[in-house]
């Protein structure tokens, strides 16, 4: 428990430091940081629409942060979640538009399955390259994000285009029900929450989860006790891809109702941020996702009511991540304690 308290402490300290550095930037452009942060909170929580919008941007982050963490547990640095969200989205859109011969509830499930399968197969490419040929998965997944973006962009402006000015597909025939209208928060939120809880269970209580964690912490040991590190690595990458695909499917069926070009920009990287900040801890990741969602959705309100551009929010989260990755930053107190103990 002590460990958990300490890591929460560290996260909170990091958060304060990031907000303080953000405040410096705001002072630098001659605005009042407290006012800006106040406007940010109002922008995220003031009224039903705003709370709904915050929850709607929370939904995909839940899944993408979980996706990143699952891959990280097996030792993979999967930056490709964003590409997986795009491909999951386009698959869901394709099935949702064209396979209307299926009854609606079945069609909905097929959309999810299709999105998750395609995204998992997409993640299979870097996984195999890494496992068998030691090609850096960071490099490959980042480049594949661009490929996924261009493929989907081509599809919605060419073969799957709705023929309107914006590059987007036709509307899908099934939708996840939205509650709290007029915001776009939808039943996907619950699907995402259940999925995250399920993933926590899988990683902590099943043999597969144990294997994944063993491979992530010590591949040689895993091999020694008869777990194939390559196989587990690939499986967890595919699982990560499937979660990304699910996020894309929810965005298309729940939020937009069609595939909008470039809709997932930042979803993958913010999920990665949320997961990295809490050291890929699946239980903390949802809270961090929520914090990032608040920042994101409050940013617009802040920009409108104060003169602070919303890009400050990205700056703060980036500072946050840089500070959070520094393992030894807030350990000066520990050192003192240890010295005293040894005396």
């Amino acid at each position: 428990m002590n460990v958990a308290v300490k890591s929460i402490q560290k996260i909170l300290l990091t958060m304060l430091l990031a907000l303080a550095i953000g405040a410096l930037f705001i002072l630098f452009i001659g605005e009042n940081p407290l006012e800006a942060y106040g406007a940010l909170l109002r922008g995220a929580f003031n009224g039903k629409l705003k709370i709904g919008t915050t929850l709607a941007s929370f939904t995909p982050l839940l899944l993408t942060s979980c996706a990143f963490a699952v891959a990280a547990k097996a030792g993979a640095f999967n930056v490709g979640v964003e590409g997986e969200v795009f491909l999951g989205g386009i698959t869901a859109a394709y099935i949702g538009i064209n396979w209307t011969f299926l009854p609606a509830p079945v069609l909905m499930i097929v959309c999810f399955l299709g999105a998750m399968t395609v995204a998992a197969l997409w993640a299979l490419i870097p996984a195999v390259l890494k496992a068998y040929y030691r090609v850096s998965e960071v490099c490959v997944t980042i480049l594949m994000n661009s490929v996924a973006l261009y493929i989907t962009s081509y599809l919605v402006s060419g073969p799957m285009s709705a023929g309107v000015a914006n590059a987007q597909s036709l509307p899908v025939t099934v939708n996840l029900p939205q509650f709290m209208k007029p915001s776009s928060v939808n039943a996907g939120l619950f699907i995402a929450l259940i999925t995250v809880v399920f993933m926590i269970w899988v990683l902590n209580k099943t043999t597969f989860g144990y294997k994944v964690k063993t491979v992530g912490t010590n591949p040689s040991h895993a091999e020694y006790v008869g777990i194939s590190p390559k196989k587990i690595f690939i499986q967890s990458m595919m699982l990560s891809g499937a979660l990304g695909g699910m996020a894309g499917c929810i965005e298309v069926l729940g939020v937009h109702g069609y595939f909008l070009n470039n809709f997932a920009a930042g979803l993958g990287s913010n999920g990665m941020l949320a997961s990295l900040i809490v050291k890929n801890n699946l239980i903390f990741a949802p809270f961090m996702s929520f914090f990032l969602a608040v920042l994101k959705s409050g940013a617009m309100g802040m920009q409108q009511s104060t003169g602070v551009p919303k890009s400050i929010v990205d700056t703060i989260t980036a500072v946050f991540i840089i500070v959070a990755t520094m393992e030894l930053l807030f350990q000066f107190k520990d050192k003192k304690n240890k010295k005293e103990k040894s005396k």
């Binding site: 960071v138 594949m144 261009y150 400050i312 700056t315 393992e327």
Partner: protein, 310 residues
């Protein structure tokens, strides 16, 4: 489709032109790689450099000052990464991605707040890096088309490749750097300060990364756009892997991407959808990377089996 029009003499310069920013980025990644540090932050360092170069060139009217400030900006970003990684034991991939996201955000923020623009910054006041015209080539048919009117930083990249190669393989410093990368314990025993070596490698990498950005925004183009590096930093890292951090092989790898890019640009005139053209360099990068790593592994296996027989 007229193949003669696609594969003409001007393709040679076009290839080199689109490869140059990637070559700079790859050299930036190669230096730290020799010290066994994977410089994922190349992209971010480059983007910061690109912004600093344009902003300073616009505000002061001097491209040289722009380039210098870009290099300093790159250095600062690199040092954040160095301190995080070496002093505070941050995981290099994590802090590298952090640097990239930070660069993306801070350049956007400064573009909005300091320059008052969003998206793109393209003013006539930006002074680009001058191009060199070679009058004595004016009458030589082929060479004129290939070598005339290069940007100064395009000539400089060739100098830099040779310089980096020389430093890596012909100087004591380079030997020490490689020793730190290959076997830090041995290097330490030999009296090399490993951490200081790593700091220096990252610092130089930052300077080159900043220059990469300056070339991208003031030499290759004459503007700044949000996320204008567009994964070129990562292509550089891929090329670095392809060349095994050897500067000359790495640069050769970059030319492959440059070639794809410029062939793609010409194909667009024949009605190939722009998105498919744009994704080609990425696919080629991934494919080359995969093939080169696979063949490297096969070579290593061969070496090992030869050892076992002996």
């Amino acid at each position: 489709m007229d193949l003669g029009k696609i594969f003409s003499v001007s393709l040679i310069y076009a290839t080199f032109r689109s490869a140059t920013p990637i070559i700079y980025a790859a050299l930036c990644a190669a230096i730290t790689q020799q010290a066994d540090i994977l410089n994922i932050g190349t992209e971010g360092i480059m983007l910061t450099g690109a912004f600093a170069a344009v902003a300073v060139s616009y505000l002061t009217g001097s491209w040289l000052l722009g380039v210098v400030v870009a290099m300093i900006a790159g250095l600062i970003m690199a040092m954040i990464m160095a301190v995080g990684h070496i002093r505070y034991k941050a995981e290099i991939c994590a802090i590298g991605m952090g640097i990239n996201l930070f660069a993306l955000a801070i350049t956007k923020f400064l573009l909005n707040s300091a320059l008052g623009k969003s998206g793109t910054f393209s003013e006539p006041g930006i002074i680009a890096i001058p191009r060199v015209s070679l009058p004595f080539l004016a009458k030589v048919p082929f060479l004129k088309e290939i070598f005339d009117n290069w940007c100064i930083t395009e000539w400089f990249v060739i100098v830099l490749i040779i310089l980096v190669w020389f430093v890596f393989y012909k100087t004591v410093w380079g030997l020490r750097l490689r020793a730190v990368g290959q076997f830090p314990m041995a290097a330490q025993t030999a009296g090399i300060n490993v951490n200081s070596m790593k700091y220096r490698a990252i610092a130089i990498s930052g300077l080159i990364g900043g220059l990469a950005g300056a070339h991208l925004s003031l030499g290759y183009s004459k503007m700044f756009t949000e996320n204008m590096t567009n994964a070129r930093g990562f292509m550089g890292v891929a090329a670095m892997y392809f060349g095994g951090a050897h500067p000359i092989l790495t640069a050769a790898g970059c030319l492959v991407f440059g070639l794809t890019d410029s062939i793609g640009a010409r194909l667009q005139a024949y009605g190939v959808p722009s998105q498919l053209v744009l994704l080609m360099p990425y696919v080629v990068t991934i494919a080359t990377l995969a093939v080169s790593m696979a063949s490297k592994m096969a070579r290593e296996k061969k070496k090992k089996s030869a050892l076992a027989k002996a």
